[in-house]
């Protein structure tokens, strides 16, 4: 069920990119898609009542060099969180570039409406 809602969020973003005529709204649509994917990645590693994936003394038995089974069974997967951190940094960079291009375009054309910004065709 959460996956379906996440996919719905993704589709809302895609709809917004495809249908909207305002440049800023298109940028918002792209960001909604981006966040839907980030949410999806986080959900991949999520566990109900999970614990942080850090081994401390209580979970590690130095004599047998074994990690407690409860740790393996309940810790969340840290890798998707690392992926999401990277993806957020990348999307911040692309958002900054997109917004600055929007601002420069507004300066040139005086509008955000993409139906009026059409010098290139053919």
């Amino acid at each position: 069920m959460p996956y379906a809602l996440c996919f719905l969020l993704f589709m809302i973003g895609l709809y917004c990119v495809v249908v909207k005529k305002n440049m800023v709204k298109i940028v918002i649509g792209i960001m909604v898609m981006e966040y839907a994917v980030n949410l999806f990645l986080i959900m991949l590693g999520y566990r109900t009542d999970g614990i942080a994936p850090i081994i401390d003394k209580a979970q590690f038995d130095p004599e047998t060099r074994q990690i407690a089974a409860s740790f393996v069974n309940s810790s969340v997967d840290p890798l998707p969180q690392a992926l999401v951190l990277t993806a957020i940094v990348i999307s911040l960079g692309s958002l900054a570039l997109m917004i600055s291009i929007c601002i420069r375009t507004y300066g040139k054309y005086g509008t955000f409406d993409i139906t009026e910004i059409r010098r290139l065709k053919g």
Partner: protein, 512 residues
């Protein structure tokens, strides 16, 4: 001693962040340094391909920080990566040399140089990465740099093209990230070799992985501008400064699109009949639609951009044909011939299309226009540009002995041997359309009456000329890559084997 693979990413990346500190006074120094970087990357790439072909191992695996895979990130250099590295090196060297003079007409040259090197770093990373998330990160580095470079002039058209490119490119990137997430969720690893093993052990694709493969094809298809996803290319490539158009059309769409697609389909997911047919159809559509749209254009660079779509179709067609034959289990010799044709066409196209865009930049710089109707008779005014443009046109059309002839010949032979006669017929027919396109360029730019306002046009000297002549010489000599068996066995064959042997990639990476 083998070259440590991270230098291919580290050198341009470090230089890219140093160059903007030079400021206005250090512009000349920044240009020299940037040129040194691209030349040294080319030399390193050539050295690495020689080492790879003379050594016994089919690939070099570099584990970053000595972390064992799949916990750490690895870089993999095999035949296909090495081929792409050399192609990136050649195009980047020529385009950088050309920029040394061409970019004097723009402000903020140091920023341009650093964005250029950032793009090169991203592309080198994409072709070397053995980790699928890392591939996404490098792909985004290269794409973001290219979005900014397309809008570098900050005029009406450039901003519009940049925005369009950026929206479609970002959607493509998000699709790829989504697919990476799905793959991780289904296989529990991000290393391409381990993903491949997990898929082989499962025996078949489950729905999640199937959806991921579809998303990969759409995402990389958007980056490669295959026909249903091509809308951004004819706007973005002409709007960029000429050396950047050469980089984008010459190599970016191949490194980010075709290479990544081939790597994911052949080495990670494994080929199947439907995927092969899909690639073949996408290739044919791109070939036909690109060629027909190009003939009607009157803007020089826009014509060349549409022709890029058509040419990328040839590459994907060759690879798709190979995939069909492998999946059917037919005679593998014809499959590897088809893939050889596709990959050889990829390298050829990198050289001649970047040369064509450089000559278009030279014409634009001399005349101040890109409209074919406003030009004419420039053959006397621009003799070198004319000569190099003719060589490139002859190559792209496929006139022997220039490079394009050999790759198209191989594709036609492979199609006939595999009993795809209609494919062979379409390849020949689209070659004729390409001939019409470039005859139109020659006719309207270099022949005919010289208009009054172009009497003062002058040939561009110095580095621009060197860059164009360098690429023109390559166009003439590239045929040797298939004709001399020694060169073919050491450069093209290893790249073909990477794709035909497909799933042995996983065993080779994990075994070492």
């Amino acid at each position: 001693m083998s070259i440590p693979l991270p230098v291919f990413v580290a050198i341009p990346l470090v230089t890219a962040f140093l160059l903007p500190t030079f400021g206005k006074k250090g512009k000349a120094a920044a240009t020299v340094i940037a040129n040194l970087v691209t030349v040294s990357l080319l030399v390193l790439a050539v050295v690495s391909i020689i080492q790879l072909s003379s050594g016994d191992d089919p690939m070099t695996v570099y584990k970053i920080g000595k972390w064992p895979i799949p916990r750490g990130i690895n870089l993999v250099l095999d035949g296909l990566s090495a081929l792409l590295l050399v192609a990136i090196g050649v195009v980047a060297t020529a385009a950088m040399l050309f920029s040394a003079r061409y970019m004097e007409q723009y402000t903020a040259k140091a920023k341009y140089l650093s964005l250029f090197l950032l793009m090169v770093a991203g592309m080198n990373g994409v072709v070397l990465s053995g980790d699928i998330f890392n591939l996404f990160v490098f792909l985004e580095i290269a794409s973001l740099a290219s979005y900014a470079l397309v809008g570098f002039g900050c005029e009406h058209e450039e901003l519009e093209a940049s925005f369009k490119y950026m929206v479609l490119g970002s959607v493509g990137s998000i699709f790829i990230l989504f697919a990476v997430g799905l793959v991780y969720g289904n296989t529990g690893t991000l290393n391409m070799a381990y993903i491949s093993q997990a898929i082989q052990n499962a025996g078949r694709l489950n729905p999640g992985l199937g959806f991921a493969l579809a998303l990969f094809i759409v995402g990389f298809g958007l980056k490669a501008a295959l026909v249903p996803f091509h809308a951004w290319l004819p706007d973005a490539h002409p709007s960029a400064p000429a050396p950047i158009s050469a980089m984008l059309s010459g190599i970016l769409i191949k490194a980010l699109g075709v290479y990544a697609l081939a790597r994911v389909v052949f080495n990670v997911f494994g080929v199947s009949l439907p995927i092969g047919w899909l690639l073949l159809v996408l290739g044919l559509l791109s070939m036909v639609a690109g060629a027909f749209l190009a003939i009607g254009q009157w803007d020089l660079k826009r014509l060349m951009a549409y022709s890029s779509i058509s040419q990328i179709g040839y590459v994907v067609l060759g690879i798709g044909l190979g995939a069909i034959l492998i999946a059917r289990g037919d005679n593998l010799a014809w499959a590897s011939l088809a893939i050889l044709g596709g990959l050889f066409h990829l390298v050829n196209h990198a050289v001649y299309k970047s040369l064509l865009f450089l000559t278009s930049g030279s014409v634009e710089m001399s005349t101040g226009t890109r409209q074919l109707r406003q030009m004419g008779g420039l053959a006397e005014k621009l003799p070198f540009t004319r000569a190099t443009c003719t060589v490139a046109s002859a190559s792209i059309v496929g006139i022997p002995p220039f490079s394009g002839f050999w790759s198209k010949l191989i594709l036609v032979i492979a199609a006939i041997q595999a009993h795809f006669y209609w494919v062979a017929a379409i390849i020949v027919f689209i070659s004729l359309c390409t001939l019409i396109m470039y005859l139109k360029v020659q006719r309207y730019v270099f022949l005919g009456e010289l208009p009054e306002h172009l009497q003062q046009a002058e040939e561009n000297k110095g580095p621009m000329l060197v860059a164009m002549v360098f690429l023109a010489c390559l166009c003439v000599l590239m045929g040797l890559l298939v004709l001399v068996p020694g060169l073919r066995n050491s450069i093209l064959e290893p790249a073909v084997r990477v794709l035909t042997d497909g799933l042995t990639y996983a065993a080779a990476v994990t075994g070492t």
